[in-house]
């Protein structure tokens, strides 16, 4: 009986997102008809671009990798009750630090790779910690400070790769680091396909985070802090410590998102390559769509990535303009949280009202 109720609940919770998908597709259909293409064919092409065969599935997963990681990082912060908007800066700093570590740390490929992972995590984590520290120490609102720190981080990374660490070999036209040693690359999962070890890292991390949040005392402390910081404090949870740790891991995982992109797919840090695709925003959406559940975040991230790879397929194979994909995506996301996560902001706001610190 209990199972049946849970099943019913699950089905009911699916109605809303499915409706959203429907609305999104309908809007897209209108736009596609406007440009005079066949609606069904276009959608078929989009589907193929995302999941058409094994190759495209792997391409979708490759694209999902940084989005999952960013979403996971943000989910931690959201769980702890802080609105980290700084994933972009944390990711970029992570990426550039990872690239530099992989280039300049002496040793074998494995050592380079490991130190790059550590450096990427640390850079993102510390940058995020800065915002957390300003919040706990000086009550500088994290929501704003993280947003602002993004600009600073992106500009700083841009400086690093256009001046001191720029790859001046070759055409030297791009602001980018040298290419890292092949020995330090994260291996591809399948020969000739773009999905790489980073995806495995992301999925494992999602599972670990799920377990930590759900079953461990650390996870409990984070959740309670997010629900009600006063209750947490009263119960003996070190509010500041948990908040700072959450921010550190939140940013660290965002940094890892940049790191695996560098180590697994681009093999160097290229200015703009992480900011232009809007990974940070997409990751933010993934976390919010899944209500900060790590496993849900991973699923949502893959769906969002599929929308993008599907759009690329559409671009390659039809004359339908690329923007339509962005319209479909916009409409779909606009409606997809309708009612499901309706309480998020309100809850946050109340929490903010009582104490302002988190």
């Amino acid at each position: 009986m209990n199972l049946q109720r849970k099943l019913q609940q699950l089905l009911r919770s699916l109605v809303q997102p499915l409706t959203a998908v429907l609305i999104g597709l309908l809007t897209g259909a209108v736009a596609i008809s406007i440009v005079g293409a066949s609606v069904l064919e276009t959608y078929k092409v989009m589907w193929d671009g995302a999941f058409g065969n094994f190759y495209f599935v792997t391409a979708t997963l490759a694209r999902a990798t940084p989005i999952i990681l960013i979403g996971l990082g943000l989910a931690i912060a959201f769980r702890a009750g802080v609105f980290n908007m700084g994933a972009e800066g944390q990711m970029v700093l992570g990426a550039v630090s990872a690239a530099l570590a992989a280039l300049y740390v002496p040793g074998s490929g494995i050592i380079k790779m490991l130190s790059a992972l550590v450096a990427g995590f640390l850079a993102g984590g510390l940058w995020s910690l800065l915002a957390g520290w300003m919040e706990t120490r000086f009550k500088v609102q994290l929501l704003i400070s993280t947003l602002l720190l993004n600009y600073v981080a992106v500009l700083f990374a841009g400086y690093l790769v256009s001046s001191p660490f720029q790859d001046k070999s070759g055409s030297a036209a791009l602001a980018q680091t040298h290419m890292i040693d092949q020995a330090a690359w994260l291996p591809k999962l399948f020969q000739g396909m773009s999905v790489h070890m980073g995806f495995v890292i992301a999925i494992v991390l999602a599972i670990i985070l799920y377990i930590i949040l759900r079953f461990t005392s650390a996870g409990y402390e984070v959740r309670m802090l997010g629900y009600n910081p006063f209750f947490a404090e009263y119960g003996g949870i070190n509010k500041i410590k948990v908040l700072l740790f959450s921010m550190f891991f939140s940013g660290g995982i965002a940094g890892l998102a940049g790191t695996v992109e560098v180590l697994g797919s681009q093999y160097r840090y290229v200015e703009g390559s992480l900011t232009v695709p809007g990974y940070a925003w997409t990751g933010l959406m993934a976390a919010l769509l899944a209500n900060s559940n790590p496993l849900g975040t991973a699923v949502a991230a893959i769906m969002l990535a599929a929308l993008q790879t599907g759009a690329m397929g559409m671009e390659r194979n039809t004359e339908v303009p690329l923007e339509i994909a962005s319209v479909i995506q916009g409409v779909l996301i606009l409606f997809v949280t309708a009612k499901i996560t309706m309480n998020w902001w309100k809850v946050k706001k109340k929490a903010g009202d009582i104490h302002g610190a988190a």
Partner: protein, 320 residues
């Protein structure tokens, strides 16, 4: 790799037509020369009866993806462009040695790749020289999209030309911080004009439209990029630096259609008329603005001759 799994219509010769893919590293719209490239390729495709598909990439990591899928989908020639695609092409071309590729505007040194290299620094030098000869206030400005290495190809030789023809001239540079912010570009142009610059060159992609508008409003003079912009507003846009991306794309498609496609480096400099400057290397539909004057043009023409004849070499600021 990708072919086995993704390949759907391997039979490229089904209709007997050759299939060419033009994989652009960005969406068309921000940088005009991608539009030009697309136009040139399309024109050639039509004229020489080949099938052409233009694929715009949404972001950096989409480039490699699109190249791979283009390979898998059996295009006979895959053309791409610019530095952004360099890494991706190196990987994909190396993995597919039996397929032919071309890259416009940068060099990828692989046996199955044709590289079309523009020496736009030569044209930028001429533009700077012309500015140096024309300025009355001895102050010349340039509004640049972003402070990134790529843009040095415009700023450095321009300044060199400016200073060589007019040692007293002061060169003002400001960066917009974006390729698509005409409003800020315009403010920067106004700022440079307020500092006394009577020429402000645009090098800010879409932002150039803002620079032109500022020139029109404040009555100073400005210089365009890539195509002959003097037609837009001959009174204020007095010169344009030219870059034959359309020609490059056209020639590449044409060569492939006619079966005389060769890999290796194809140079497009002043000598090859692949880059240039209005009135100096190319005719313009609009008459020369008297602010520049024929005398200056003649002097620049002389410099042009020196470069073409190899007497003078302009250093590419990006190579070391």
């Amino acid at each position: 790799g990708a072919e086995e799994s993704a390949g759907k219509n391997e039979s490229s010769t089904k209709e007997g037509k050759k299939k060419i893919a033009l994989v652009l590293p960005e969406k068309i719209g921000v940088n005009p020369f991608f539009q030009q490239m697309d136009d040139g390729a399309k024109q050639a495709a039509e004229e020489f009866g080949v099938e052409l598909k233009t694929i715009e990439s949404t972001d950096h990591s989409a480039i490699e993806e699109n190249l791979r899928v283009a390979v898998a989908e059996g295009y006979d020639l895959i053309i791409t462009s610019s530095f952004e695609a360099e890494d991706a092409l190196k990987k994909v071309a190396a993995e597919n040695p039996d397929r032919q590729f071309a890259i416009i505007d940068t060099v990828v040194d692989l046996p199955n790749v044709q590289s079309v290299n523009f020496r736009e620094h030569e044209a930028a030098y001429l533009l700077g020289a012309a500015a140096g000869l024309s300025t009355k206030t001895d102050k010349v400005g340039m509004v640049v999209a972003m402070d990134i290495p790529l843009m040095k190809k415009w700023t450095v030789p321009f300044e060199q030309g400016l200073k060589e023809t007019n040692p007293d001239a002061e060169f003002l540079v400001n960066y917009v911080g974006s390729f698509s912010d005409p409003a800020k570009a315009k403010e920067l142009a106004l700022l440079q004009a307020s500092k006394g610059a009577d020429i402000v060159a645009g090098a800010s992609a879409v932002g150039d439209l803002g620079v032109f508008e500022a020139a029109k409003e404040q009555g100073f003079f400005t210089l365009g990029q890539d195509v002959d912009r003097t037609e837009v507003d001959p009174e204020h846009i007095v010169l344009s630096q030219l870059k034959g991306t359309d020609a490059a794309a056209y020639e590449t498609v044409k060569a492939f259609a006619n079966g005389d496609f060769k890999t290796g480096i194809v140079e497009y400099g002043l000598k090859e008329k692949g880059v240039g400057l209005t009135y100096v290397t190319h005719e313009s539909k609009t008459p020369l603005n008297s602010f520049v004057g024929q005398e200056a043009i003649d002097q620049v023409k002389a410099l042009h001759e020196e470069i073409v004849s190899g007497k003078k070499e302009i250093k590419n600021p990006l190579s070391n």
